[in-house]
């Protein structure tokens, strides 16, 4: 009888161990905020979000109508959004996301396209929340949101300044972009 009870306890312990391992594996597999040993710049804060709102900061109704907005934006109305910069017909916005996420939104009226990327704000410590499109010639057009403290983005020897916590780099060859400040540099893998 005693042996049977011990076996039952051992089985329960083994099951509990397996369950705990599964939970830990599942939890860690869900977190992808970049390596903890990577160079960090700033605190992840975004000054553009703190400035006074203007009429042009409102996200277009079309963007809010996509199901993505309801699932990812902190407010279904896109409250708190800020226009970061315009580049030709392209407009870049940021908007607070749910559960600590921050979103980068792009709207191009001429191309009739729109897109967004929402990621944990912690990503800004070690890099950028970005979107990239590969064109037919294999080059990438990269749009990025960076935290305060970043001053430039660079690829293939072409450097652009950070404007409103964002950058636009077109015609990037290769799969990486460098962002940085006067003192620190980070590499973002943007390719596939």
């Amino acid at each position: 009888m005693v042996t049977v009870q011990r076996r039952s306890k051992l089985r329960l312990l083994a099951l509990a161990g397996i369950a705990a391992a599964a939970v830990i594996t599942a939890a860690t597999s869900q977190v992808g905020r970049g390596g903890g040993d990577r160079t960090q710049i700033g605190t992840g804060s975004v000054a553009a979000l703190a400035r006074s709102a203007r009429a042009a900061d409102a996200l277009p109704a079309q963007v809010l109508s996509y199901p993505f907005a309801a699932r990812n934006f902190a407010s279904p109305t896109g409250a708190g959004s800020r226009l970061l910069q315009t580049d030709g017909s392209l407009r870049l916005y940021t908007v607070p996301g749910k559960a600590g996420m921050l979103c980068l939104v792009e709207v191009d009226n001429a191309a009739q396209t729109a897109g967004a990327a929402c990621a944990d704000r912690g990503v800004l410590l070690t890099g950028s929340i970005f979107m990239a499109d590969r064109s037919e010639n294999g080059r990438l057009d990269v749009l990025g949101l960076v935290g305060d403290g970043h001053t430039y983005a660079e690829a293939n020897g072409k450097r652009v300044g950070i404007e409103g916590n964002s950058f636009v780099l077109r015609g990037v060859e290769g799969d990486s972009v460098t962002v940085g400040s006067a003192a620190e540099t980070q590499t973002i893998e943007v390719g596939d």
Partner: protein, 117 residues
Amino acid sequence: MSRTALFILIVALALLAVPVAGGGSYIYWWQHNMPTNTVGHDGFAHNHTYNELYFGPNAGWTARLWEVTPAGYTHFVRLCSGNCFYAHPPYYYATSYCANRDPNGTTHFVYDCRDEW
């Protein structure tokens, strides 16, 4: 204008209106909880207007959305941080694909992928 001509005009206008009235978009969640190292695809070509990948509130890995025509032409490839969508005109009859990967390049499961056409 005769009654016959008026009737024909009304019928023609009604026929023109039919495709518009029935032209609502289709929304299709085609991938849920995809296993590691698997690339998801919807399996059906359409003139898509919207693609979305949803990983979760703690998203951070790089996501990838792309479309490929039946002839093998890649319509577009969009790479982005975390959860993302891409909306575009229905230029191409294509199949949607989605995946995400960790910093080591391993593709991980995706919570949801969806497209609209």
